[in-house]
Each structure stands twice: as C-alpha cells, then as structure tokens.
C-alpha cells in the first residue's frame, strides 16, 4: 500500500513537473523544475526500501540487525540532493528576474510567441 501511494505521488509530481517544464513562461519552468526535483527526491528515498519504525542507525549496546534498520545511504543522498536543488532553484530565480528585466517579458525565449 505504501509503495502504491509513493509511486503515485512520484508519478504525479514528475508528470506535472514535466508538463510545466515545457510551458513557455519562466515561472512555470521554475515550478516545474521544483516539482520534478521533489519527484526525484522521493524516488531516491524510495530506493532504500520503504519501511516504518526503522531507524537508519545502530543502537548502542544492541547487536546490529540489518533486518530492523532502514538504509541510511539514500537518506544521506536525498539530503544532498535537496540542498543542491534548492540552491540551484534560488539561482535560477535570480536569472529569471534578470531576464525579465532585460527583455520585459517572462517568455523563455525573451520575446512573445504564441501560447
């Protein structure tokens, strides 16, 4: 059940993100990229296997039992990916504003086309 929900969420986010990414307005592109990065982050998280009530670390004193542990690596990866994605989105927003300032339009090509 968990797997189904996560899979649907990733699919929905990735689908809407891709659609927005292909839109002609820069703001839509930024939101599209953000949604896509959420989808990717969830996806990375899910590669470690989904389980509840499992900590990604070993308790002191108790013998480590891999069956009770969550995989810590995807969680660490996802943190890195979130930070990098966040910083890049911020940078993109600045460039977006600069482009709007230079061209006077929020079209991705700097001039109004159809759509």
């Amino acid at each position: 059940m968990n797997e189904l929900v996560i899979a649907l969420a990733i699919g929905l986010l990735a689908g809407s993100g891709t659609w927005l990414l292909l839109r002609p307005r820069t703001f839509q592109v930024v939101i599209g990229l953000s949604l896509l990065s959420y989808a990717v982050n969830l996806f990375i998280f899910s590669t470690g296997g989904l389980r509840s009530l499992a900590a990604p670390f070993v308790r002191a004193g108790a013998p480590p039992d891999p069956a009770l542990l969550a995989d810590p690596l995807p969680q660490a990866l996802v943190l890195t990916a979130i930070v990098i994605g966040f910083a890049m989105t911020a940078l993109l927003l600045v460039v977006l504003l600069a482009a709007r300032g230079f061209t006077g339009t929020d079209h991705v090509d700097g001039q109004e086309g159809e759509g």
């Binding site: 990375i44 990866l77 994605g85 993109l92 482009a99 230079f102 090509d109």
Partner: protein, 524 residues
Amino acid sequence: MSGWQQHLPIVPVVLPLATAAVLMLIDEQRRAWKQGVAMASSLLLLLVGAALVRAADQWAGQGVPIVYRLGNWPAPFGIVLVADRLSALMVLLAAVLGFAALLFAVARWDRAGPRFHALLQVLLMGVNGAFLTGDLFNLFVFFEVFLAASYGLALHGSGAARVQASLHYIVINLTASLLFLVGAALIYGVTGTLNLADLAQRIPAAAAQNRALLEAGAAVLGIAFLIKAGMWPLCFWLPRAYGAACAPAAALFAILTKVGIYAVLRIWLLFFGPAAGASAGFGQDWLTIGGLVTLAFGAIGVLGAQELPRLAGFSLIASCGTLLAAVGAGSAAVSGAALYYLIASTLGVSALFLLIELVERGRAPGADLLAITEEAFGGFEAEEREDVGVVIPAVWAVLGLAFVACVLMLAGLPPLPGFVAKAALLSALLAPDAVAPSAWVLLALLMLSGLATVVAASRTGVRIFWMPEQQLAARVRVIEMLPIVLLLGIGLALTVLAGPALRYLDEAAQALHAPAGYIEGVLR
C-alpha cells in the same frame, strides 16, 4: 609506492577550493591581490597536475591507480579519489585551460563583473573532482559544483544575450542533473553500492529480473552525461550558450563537454565492458550512431555558421561527435587515439574561443551580416579597387596567423596535432581485418568534417582578415595573445612529442578497457 605521491589526488580539489575561499575574502577593489592569488594558485595547480601525471604513470606501471581514501575508510564504504593515467591527464588539461583563461581574463575580462576569479577556481575544483572521484554520487556533487560555477561564468559580463542564453543553459543542466540523480538512484537500488569499482564487480552478478532496471538506470545516467557532452539531439543549447559567454569562460567551457565524454568513457567501460556478463556492450550502438550523427550535425553547423562564436561552438560539437563515435568502437587502440584527439581538439577550440574575442573586438558590430549580404547580392563596393600594396597591420597579421593555426588544429591538417590525432584514429579504426561498417562511415565523416571546417573557416577568415575597411583599430595586449600562443604551443609540442604522448594515452586506454587493476586498486 607510498609517501607524498599518495596524497596528490586530493590537492587538485582542495587547492582551488581554498583559493576560492581566500579570493572571496579579498575586496573586489584589490584587483592586483586577487589576480596575484589566482595566478599563483593556477600555476601551482599546473605543477600539481604535471606531478600527478608523472606519479600516475609510475603507479600505473605497476598496475594500480593512485587511490586516496578520505578519512582512510576502506573503499566501498568510504569516499575515494582515484588517479589513473586518464584522470591525471584530464586534470592537467583542465589546469592548462584554467591557466590560459585566467591569463586572458587578467587583461580586461575580470573587470566585467564581480567574483570572476573565485568562480573560475570553483569551476576548476568541480572539474578536477569529477575527473578524480571514484564514486557515482560524488561525481554528481562535483558535476553540480562545476555547473554552479559555470552558471556564474556564463552570466559574467551580464547583458541581455548572456542572461537569455544562460537561462536556457541553466534549465537544461538542472534537468540533466535530475536525470543523473534518477540514474544513480536506480543503479543504487539494484546493486546497493555507489562506488564505481564495486559497481563494476556487482553488475555482472546482478539478478536477471533486475537487469532491465539496472540498464534503464545506466541509460538515464548516460543521457545526463551526453547532454553535457553535447550529443545530437541533446546539443542544441551548446552553440548559443558558449557563444554568448565571455571569451575566457567559453574557453574554459571547452573542458566541460569533455567531462561528459570522460564520464561516458569511464563509467561505460567499467559497467559494460567485456567483463560485464549479460550486459556487456550495453548501449554501444547508441554511442556509435549518436556520435556519427553528432559529427555530421557539427560539420553542417560549421558550414552554416555565420558568426565566429557559433562556428567555434559547432566545431566543439563535431569534436564531441568524433569522440563518442570512437568510444563506441569499443577497442582500446581506438580509444587511445581518441584521447589524443580529445586533447588536441580541446586545446584548439579553447584557443579559438579566445581568439574570436580579440578578432571581434576590432570589427564593426554587425560586420558578419554585412559581409554575407555583400556576398549574396554582389557587393556594394567600388569594383575596380587598387588592392596592390595594401598593408596588413601587424596585429591583424598575428591574429590571422593564430586563426590559421586554430583551424589547422581543428580541421586536422599538418603540422598541428589535429592531423596526428585523426591519422592515429583512422589507422586504429582500419587496423582490424574485418572493419566495421560504422568505421567506414566515421572515416568518411571525419574527412568531410575536416573539409567543412576548412571551407567555413577560410570563408570567414577571408571576410575578416582581408577586408581592411571593416577593421577598427584593434587594441590587443600581449598578455591576451600569450594564452593563445600557449595553447597552440602545447599543441605543437604534442605533435613533436606525439610518440611518448600516444604511448601514454594508449596505456591509459588499455587500462580503461581492462579495468581489473583499477577495481583491485580501489577495493584493496
């Protein structure tokens, strides 16, 4: 086999990072300080690169790469940096380009915007890290580091054209980074490791029902690399972004496409080399055909380019196509020659990007378009003009000579290394008894693309250098010619020393195609 050499691989990452930190602390007004620090660091990086090549060659002679374990954690668990012959050489190449770009920028471009020097150092750090890292996720991190710096450098100097081109460049690369993450996550999900050497061991043993997932992951990862490498149809962003960037940045960006090529070469051969069992050779046809189409696209683009920066951009695409097709041939001899071509073409394109800015500076805006209209409609100038005894100013003579040298390098004509590279590539391709059909296509395309480069460049060259009325008084400083001469001089040295260079690169390629030493060295 221990001692100081063991610690060399970390230096090309830490040195530019520390320099960038110091540069951030120096006020923008203290230009001389900034230039001094950046220059000292770049020179040091050059020395480190040379030392690394030497050390890697010595170590590889004994069958292992230099492995630097961060925090001394054992390999599949900790992070490793690995310097074999190829990565060491790529680090040296990046250092050369970085030094040339810095030298060029010191004359005037570093004044066009803030934090130029720091961004350049961060870019070098990311590129070096990408060449040296031994695990997939750190490859992603280093990709992001140099991409972030490249966004800053692409925007350097500002202006509507740069901001517009950068917007596309950033969006495309962010999307590529997301694909990278998807690919890395899929591969991790199947194999449970991100260490490249460990992956190379586990992929042949992957369960049959997971194999499709693994290959899908590798394909997605490959798309991310090929966007960087500029394979058709993923390369339409390249001429515009590189053409709009300021000259030193564009010269440095010539190495970024090669990072993509390097990643394909390294990871494809580690994952899907002959030892990969059921997955051996996965994606080989895609690389070959994609490379051939890219080469054709680049050649057509070179012919059609009406402005010099676009011409340089398309010749970069053509060189990437050649490399991908050569990698796709899947033999060590061809890969060795391809590596030589990689160095020659990178030096040539980089010098061309620097040269273009000097040439364009001395010309009236819109001169290209004017010249084309003149050609098309028969010219507006007086017909009987006395051309005898026209004096070409010394600056233009030097620029013209440098332009010819760049073209010889890119088109693959003697005496510059482009020729040696193409000759070595073709002789390696045609060496086997049964020559693959794709090798004949590559041969034909290589010849044609060389011809296209010569045709396009001589047309442009005539238009620029032999039409004195369009020339404004160009002000070129010696320090701006120096990096171009340096890059072309290294090219000439590569021709003279083609024997040792090809020997080194051939051994590097042998190690790539038979990575047992690499795997053992990392996991030991």
